[in-house]
Amino acid sequence: MSAERFIDFVYDEAWMLDQGRFAEWIELWEPDAVYWMPLNWNQQDPINETSLLYEDNFMLRLRVERLQGARTFSQKPKSRCHHVLNRPRVEELREDGAKIVTQCHYVETRLDEQMLLALTIRHDLKVVDGQIRIAGKRVDILNCDAAFGNIQLLP
C-alpha cells in the first residue's frame, strides 16, 4: 500500500475525531491495540509507572460509550476538539503496514474554556483485509508533566 494511503488515513482519523464520530472511530482499532499517552517526557515503560492513558479496547469502548451517556455530567454540555496536523512523516513503510509520526496542535473546548496542547502522535498502522487499521497509537504531549484540568476527548 502506498505511503499516501497511510498519510491520508492519519488525516481522516483526526477529522473523524473532530466531527465527534467516536463510534466509527473505535471501529478503526484492532482488538488488541492500545492507546498510550505517557505522563513523562521520553517515558519508556507504560505499565510499571503512571501514564496519562494506557487503554485497551475495553477501556476505549467505555470511553466512547460514556461520552454519549445520559448521566455523563462532565459532558453536559459536551466538549469539542480540533486537530491541526503537520504533514505526517512515514518512518517505516511495509506492504502490510506503516509507522507514522505526526506533529499536531490539539484544541479542546467546553463552555468558556479552551485548551491548546502540542502533540507528537505515533501511529502503528496495519492492513487487514485491504483496510488500514490502528494497531497502536502513542500520543506525547509537549508539556506532559504540567498540571492540567480535564482533558476529556481524544487528543
Binding site: N40, Y54, F58, M59, L62, R66, T72, S74, F148
Partner: protein, 439 residues
C-alpha cells in the same frame, strides 16, 4: 487582638453540623489557613526514597511556603525553606536533583551546606565590621519548625512550637503502617512521576470527598455503570476473567448498602478512614508469589492480618489521603481559595512482585489522571460547587448525615460507612489548629 479576631472568625463559620461557605470561598479565610492552620499541623513533605543519596533534594511546599527536602552529608534528611537568606532567591526550582556537598545560590553565589548552614560568601571582606554575623542572613537556609521521618514518609511542622508528631497522628498511623507492612521487607519506593491535576475549587472539597461514600454510585455512574453494562452485554465465555478495568472501576457502582456496611473510623485531630470492614479494594485478584513472600517475611498469621486490612481512603489531616491496599498517596496542595493542585503518587512494595506496581499504576491513571473518566466527573462536581457556593441566601454547607448531638472527636469511633462524621471531625480539627491546636 489578632487572636480574638481569629477566634471570632473561626467560631462564626463552623457549626457542629454545617459550615459557612466562606471556608471554601473567602480569600481572607484562605490567608488565615496559610498563616495559621498549615503551620500548626504536621504536613506531608515527601518520601525518603526521593532523596536517597547525600545531596539529593526535592522541592515541596506546605501551604504557600516554598520548601526543600534534602539528604545531608551525614545521611539525615533535612527540611529547609527554599529561600536564599541574602535576597530571597529560591535556591533550587527543579522538582528533584542532586546538589553535591553544598547548595550554591545562582544569584550571588552564597553557598550553604546541605543542612542549611552558611558555607561561604564571595568577596566576604565587604561584610567585615558590618555585623553580618548577627543577622538571620548569616544563619543560612532556615529550617522549618520540626520534621519527622515516619517509616520513610517525611512530615514537617512549620511552627517552632506546637503539637508533637506522635500526638498529632496517634492511632491514625496504623494506616501508614499497613501500607509499609505490605512490603515483605517493610520498605516503599516512589515510582515515576506523580499525576498533576489542577482543580478550580477549594482544597477542602477534595479532602472531604475522600470519605464521601454517597457520591460514587451517582457521580460515577457514567464510567462505572457503563463499564458494568458493556461487560454484561459483551459476548464472552461464561468463565471469562474480568478485564482489570472492571476490577478497578466497577466497585464504584456498589449499592448504598455496601458503603454503609464498609464502615468509617475517625481518629482525633481530623484523621479518619473509610473501609473498616471491607472496601472497593477487597476483591482484587491475587498476584502470584506475593502471598508466599509475605508469609516468608512475617509468618502466616501476621501476613494474613496485614493483607486482611482493606482500608479504602485514609485522610491525614489536613491535606493528604493514602490507600494502603494499592500503595498510593494523594496530596491536595492549596494554591488559592478556588485553586488546588492534586498530586497522585504511587509506591513500589520492595520485595513484592512487579504486578502489584502495574496494578497501582493502572489504578492511578484510571481514577486520578486529568484524562480519567472517573476524575472528570469528580472535578465537574467540585467546580460546580465552587461556583454554586457564590449563591447568596443559602450560605451554609450541610455535613449532617448521621450527626449525633454532642459528638466527641477526641475519641476514636467506628460508625456506619455513610456518616459524614469524618467531615465534621476535619472541621473540628480545622477550628482548633487555626487557633494554635489548643483543645
Amino acid at each position: 487582638m489578632e487572636e480574638q479576631t481569629l477566634r471570632d472568625t473561626v467560631n462564626r463559620v463552623i457549626r457542629p453540623e454545617q459550615v459557612h461557605r466562606d471556608v471554601y470561598t473567602s480569600a481572607e479565610i484562605f490567608r488565615l489557613e496559610m498563616k495559621h492552620l498549615f503551620p500548626n499541623c504536621w504536613v506531608y513533605v515527601g518520601h525518603e526514597s526521593q532523596t536517597a543519596k547525600p545531596g539529593d533534594y526535592i522541592t515541596a511546599q506546605i501551604g504557600d511556603q516554598p520548601l526543600l527536602q534534602v539528604r545531608h552529608t551525614d545521611g539525615e534528611i533535612k527540611v529547609l525553606y527554599n529561600r536564599c537568606p541574602h535576597k530571597g532567591t529560591k535556591i533550587v526550582i527543579d522538582k528533584a536533583g542532586n546538589t553535591g556537598k553544598f547548595f550554591r545560590c545562582p544569584y550571588h553565589a552564597w553557598s550553604f551546606k546541605t543542612d542549611g548552614c552558611l558555607l561561604a560568601i564571595p568577596l566576604k571582606k565587604g561584610y567585615e565590621g558590618t555585623g553580618l554575623e548577627g543577622t538571620e542572613a548569616a544563619k543560612g537556609l532556615a529550617p522549618v519548625g520540626a520534621w519527622h521521618n515516619y517509616r520513610g514518609f517525611i512530615f514537617a511542622r512549620l511552627a517552632k512550637d506546637g503539637i508533637g508528631f506522635e500526638e498529632f497522628f496517634g492511632e491514625a498511623l496504623s494506616s501508614l503502617d499497613n501500607m509499609v507492612d505490605r512490603s515483605p521487607v517493610g520498605r516503599l519506593t516512589v515510582v515515576g512521576a506523580p499525576l498533576r491535576y489542577m482543580h478550580r475549587c477549594n482544597w477542602k472539597m477534595l479532602v472531604e470527598n475522600q470519605t464521601d461514600t454517597c457520591h460514587p454510585m451517582v457521580a460515577h455512574e457514567s464510567s462505572a455503570g457503563t463499564a458494568v453494562k458493556i461487560w454484561e452485554t459483551m459476548e464472552k465465555p461464561a468463565d471469562a476473567p474480568k478485564p482489570p478495568a472492571m476490577e478497578i472501576i466497577a466497585p464504584f457502582m456498589s449499592p448504598y448498602e455496601f458503603f454503609e456496611n464498609m464502615g468509617i473510623r475517625t481518629w482525633p485531630n481530623g484523621h479518619g478512614h473509610t473501609g473498616v470492614h471491607h472496601s472497593i479494594h477487597s476483591d482484587y485478584s491475587a498476584v502470584p508469589g506475593y502471598y508466599d513472600a509475605m508469609v516468608e517475611a512475617y509468618g502466616e498469621e501476621r501476613a494474613q492480618a496485614i493483607l486482611g486490612e482493606n482500608r479504602h481512603n485514609t485522610v491525614y489531616f489536613p491535606n493528604i489521603m493514602i490507600k494502603g491496599p494499592i500503595q498510593q498517596l494523594r496530596n491536595f496542595i492549596p494554591l488559592g481559595p478556588d485553586k488546588t493542585l492534586v498530586e497522585s503518587w504511587i509506591f513500589r512494595l520492595e520485595g513484592a512482585p512487579d504486578e502489584l506496581v502495574a496494578r497501582t499504576a493502572m489504578y492511578n491513571r484510571m481514577i486520578n489522571a486529568p484524562t480519567s473518566m472517573v476524575g472528570h466527573d469528580d472535578l465537574e462536581m467540585y467546580e460546580r460547587a465552587q461556583e454554586g457556593l457564590m449563591a447568596d441566601g443559602l450560605e451554609w454547607v450541610n455535613i449532617q448525615r448521621l450527626y449525633e448531638e454532642g459528638e466527641d472527636f477526641s475519641e476514636e469511633a467506628v460508625l456506619n460507612g455513610t456518616t459524614e462524621r469524618q467531615m465534621r471531625n476535619q472541621f473540628d480539627a480545622w477550628k482548633r489548629f487555626m487557633i494554635g491546636g489548643a483543645a
